[in-house]
């Protein structure tokens, strides 16, 4: 059974068909890239997967369990972590507190009125931060971080509930080249060691071809190609879309 199984997914906004009859699957431990030109439907696809949008039709299953109709916070409970195209963190909190809040949620303590949140799971939070190389900055407010560092905090937050599926929407946008490689290396290593299924969108083709074991190409809301990097690279339809000639 695949970690993520998508069948016949469709979503329209008014008259615009943003996603049309999209089907694919991602296995545990696999790193899959979802690529396509701007407006191809990548972010819509992600928003459908984590419950921010409701599909018009189609099926989404996590390890065999349907998640269609669930809200984002419910989807997360089933093991879906997510990073956003524009980073979303809690700006009034420190780096460590951001991770602690995710851990509180994981341990179902969101309505606890007990001991201060800042004393909760400090070691676990720091261990997560260490994995993304942010332990030195644990006490800094999120509001002052560099963009690349925020992306890494988001990754640590997304890992807090040991996800089975990690959705990364343009994880390396706004980062320097060597930072990009490092972040994706980390994600790929996590996927292998923790058997996490990773689905990411990316504009940087170097990153895509270096790290994806499979690539799905969206165009106009439809899947026009899917397969190993070499197959996709050789696909005439993909070349047409990206290079404008056959």
């Amino acid at each position: 059974m695949s970690a993520l199984e998508v069948r016949g997914l469709s979503k329209a906004y008014g008259g615009v068909q943003a996603v049309r009859d999209v089907s694919f699957s991602v296995d545990a431990g696999e790193v899959v890239a979802l690529i396509g030109p701007n407006g191809a439907g990548k972010t819509t696809c992600f928003n459908l997967l984590n419950g921010q949008l409701r599909p018009d039709s189609g099926e989404i299953a996590l390890a065999g369990r349907s998640v269609v109709g669930l809200r984002p916070h419910q989807v997360w409970r089933l093991g879906v972590g997510r990073t956003f195209q524009v980073t979303a963190t809690f700006s009034s909190m420190t780096v460590r507190e951001n991770v602690q809040v995710a851990l509180l949620s994981h341990h179902r303590k969101l309505f606890s009125l007990g001991k201060p949140a800042g004393r909760f799971q400090v070691e676990e939070a720091d261990a997560l931060l260490a994995r993304v190389g942010m332990q030195q900055q644990a006490a800094r407010p999120c509001a002052v971080l560099a963009y690349g560092d925020l992306k890494r905090v988001e990754l640590a937050v997304a890992l807090a509930n040991r996800p089975r599926l990690l959705l990364m929407d343009e994880p390396t946008a706004g980062m320097a080249s060597d930072e990009r490689q490092a972040l994706m290396q980390l994600a790929a290593a996590l996927a292998r060691s923790e058997r996490i299924a990773v689905l990411f969108t990316e504009h940087d083709m170097e990153v895509v071809f270096n790290f994806a074991s499979r690539i799905i190409v969206l165009h106009g809301g439809e899947v026009i190609a899917a397969g190993a990097p070499d197959e996709v690279r050789a696909n005439p339809r993909v070349r047409e879309v990206y290079l404008g000639n056959a």
């Binding site: 984590n50 921010q52 809200r71 984002p72 916070h73 419910q74 997360w76 409970r77 972590g81 997510r82 956003f84 524009v86 980073t87 979303a88 963190t89 809690f90 700006s91 009034s92 909190m93 420190t94 507190e97 602690q100 809040v101 995710a102 509180l104 949620s105 994981h106 303590k109 969101l110 309505f111 606890s112 009125l113 007990g114 001991k115 201060p116 949140a117 800042g118 909760f120 407010p141 509001a143 988001e154 937050v157 997304a158 807090a160 509930n161």
Partner: protein, 596 residues
């Protein structure tokens, strides 16, 4: 009810709907282009009424109506150019606060000009009689009013869809930056739209004088009705406002016609609730785009200086030894309002929810305490203990609807709820004593001295504030703040933001209820003032004065405000207007956020 009586009530409802539509349409138009919810819109309506009543004495009714409307439009022009123009880029909360300051100023101005008594308008010459409809008498003038709503609706529709100016208004409503980039002169457009909105409100008020007298309470009553209408119809939608005005107008008419005028507001509330459950953005409205962004930049919440506060607590504990009774009463008030402000801060600060109706829970606590004591004959101590639960329950009921929304929608809804609570207290004579309120709400004998009651208040208020602070520091408080910082991220890590906010409403209501019950026993009486909208705004000013991004700020704000109000209300006749003026000066002087 016979068939003809139903028909007559239906026509009555249509007449009321016309006035409602005029106000709501103006509110919607102004919000559409400037993104400002004009809390003073009901005040402009009231101004239209008073002006028309005055002018009709010399000019006659028919001339007074358009002239009053024009004068209100001119007032709108002045308000827009001198005040609103300076705060278009200010934070939402300050904008709302500034327009509320206008409510205070306009009400006191009307009090100064026309006195506290209701002013009856003339009948419309030529339409003073009645016509027979289905064998019953129906006022001729109301038939004209029935036509007025649709006529204005059609005129607005034509203005917006068939003229160049209307195209600019619609462009600015949809995308302000783009409209500006395409050469639409924003300044003039904003001014014109505000004046048009004021004209409609003034016209609505002036044309209503043959039906009802001008009174000082009409401003907030009309405003909360208009809020209900735009929330039901969808903010920014003129057809929605029309539809909702008809709906609400009919609901009101039938409640009154059936002899359940006390239930009017409760039924209005239920209609609004049903609509919001099925269409959170109103019948014909669209969701506000910015509510789903990655989040806004929020400053951290520093811990207060416990040394300073501990010292202060000790000082407060020894004050009665050397202070006179007057100081003790003032300090009791300050403590009560410090708790009130701290409970509001939970919603506004960590919760990120601008509540304009927090006094509802304060009042609910006060009234419940009084009723348990006087009507259920419970001991004072038990009444004091149970009253906050009623406030919490009320906050949970109102809050459930409020947390479905955010930003200005939420602010409007909280205010509408508070106005409903006020009206119930004001109208339900048999239970609440109506406008006279309840008297004889005295504490138990062992607490009857001012000193003893002061110590009770000190212990309960400090204890409650300490609990609130601990709560803000707890996992619950962090999850609440997470939902404010970034709703998107919060949901993506399993936080049900609405559930956190809803619980926060209940908790804030509980603590406001404690403050309200303490207040009731300290005064010995309760009046509808206790839960009026101005009291809610007092709370907002306290929190903003002290700083919404700090924990102890609201306490200092409450102390300063309560002391200021106490001094002003004894020395200055129009002290509400004075407070309004202070708010305006502060907002204009620091449009990017006053009390950081």
């Amino acid at each position: 009810m016979s068939g003809s009586a139903v028909l007559l009530q239906f026509l009555n409802g249509l007449a009321g709907a016309s006035s409602l539509f005029l106000v709501a349409a103006g509110l919607s138009l102004i919000f559409g282009v400037s993104r400002i919810v004009n809390f003073a819109h009901g005040s402009l309506y009231m101004l239209g009424m008073y002006l028309a009543v005055s002018l009709s004495g010399t000019l006659g009714f028919w001339l007074s109506v358009p002239l009053a409307a024009a004068l209100v439009a001119a007032a709108g022009l002045v308000i827009e150019t001198t005040l609103l123009r300076r705060i278009y880029k200010a934070p939402e909360l300050l904008q709302l606060l500034a327009t509320f300051a206008l409510v205070l100023i306009i009400r006191d101005a009307a009090l100064w000009a026309w006195g506290p008594e209701d002013r009856l308008g003339p009948r419309a010459p030529g339409l003073a009689g009645a016509v027979a409809i289905a064998g019953r008498q129906f006022p001729q003038y109301d038939l004209l009013l029935i036509c007025l709503g649709p006529a204005v609706f059609i005129a607005l529709y034509l203005l917006l869809s068939r003229t160049r100016w209307g195209t600019r208004v619609r462009a600015a409503s949809q995308d302000r930056e783009m409209a500006a980039a395409l050469g639409v002169n924003e300044r003039r457009l904003f001014t014109a739209v505000f004046a048009l909105g004021a004209l409609l409100a003034g016209f609505g008020g002036a044309s209503a004088i043959p039906r009802e007298p001008a009174s000082l309470q009409i401003d907030l009553a009309v405003m909360s009705d208009a809020f209900v209408v735009v929330v039901v119809g969808g903010l920014g939608s003129i057809p929605g406002a029309f539809l909702a005005a008809l709906l609400i107008g009919e609901v009101k008419a039938f409640c009154i016609g059936l002899g359940y005028s006390e239930l009017t507001l409760a039924i209005e509330f239920i209609v609004m609730a049903v609509v919001l459950v099925f269409r959170p953005w109103g019948l014909l409205g669209r969701p506000l785009a910015e509510t789903r962004g990655p989040g806004t930049l929020q400053p951290p919440l520093p811990a207060p200086s416990f040394l300073l506060l501990g010292g202060l607590a000790v000082l407060l504990a020894i004050v009665p030894v050397f202070a006179g009774p007057y100081t003790i009463v003032l300090l009791t008030d300050i403590l009560v309002f410090a708790l009130f402000a701290a409970s509001l801060h939970l919603l506004m600060g960590p919760g990120g929810m601008p509540s304009f109706g927090h006094a509802a829970y304060f009042g609910l606590g006060a009234y419940t305490a009084g009723l348990l004591l006087l009507r259920a004959h419970l001991p004072m101590e038990l009444s004091l203990a149970l009253a906050p639960l009623a406030a919490a329950l009320g906050a949970l009921v109102f809050g459930w609807f409020c947390v479905q929304l955010s930003g200005v929608y939420l602010a409007m809804l909280t205010l509408a709820f508070a106005q409903i609570a006020w009206s119930v207290a004001f109208q339900w004579d048999r239970l609440t004593g109506g406008s006279n309120g309840l008297i004889g709400v005295w504490p138990a004998p062992w607490l009857s001295s001012k000193q003893a009651y002061y110590y009770l208040t000190l212990v309960l208020c400090l204890g409650a504030v300490a609990l609130l602070w601990r709560l803000i520091d707890s996992p619950f408080g962090y999850a609440l703040r997470a939902g404010r910082d970034s709703p998107l991220r919060a949901a993506a890590i399993g936080i049900d933001v609405r559930a956190q906010q809803w619980a926060a409403f209940g908790i804030a209501g509980l603590f406001a209820g404690v403050a309200g019950a303490l207040y009731a026993f300290s005064k010995g009486s309760i009046s509808p003032e206790t839960l009026s909208v101005p009291r809610s705004v007092d709370g907002l000013v306290m929190v903003l004065l002290g700083g919404v991004q700090t924990l102890s700020g609201p306490l200092w704000g409450a102390a300063l405000f309560t002391w200021l109000e106490d001094s002003l209300s004894r020395g200055v006749e129009y002290w509400r207007a004075a407070i309004g003026a202070v708010i305006l000066v502060l907002v204009i002087a620091f449009p990017r956020g006053i009390f950081k």
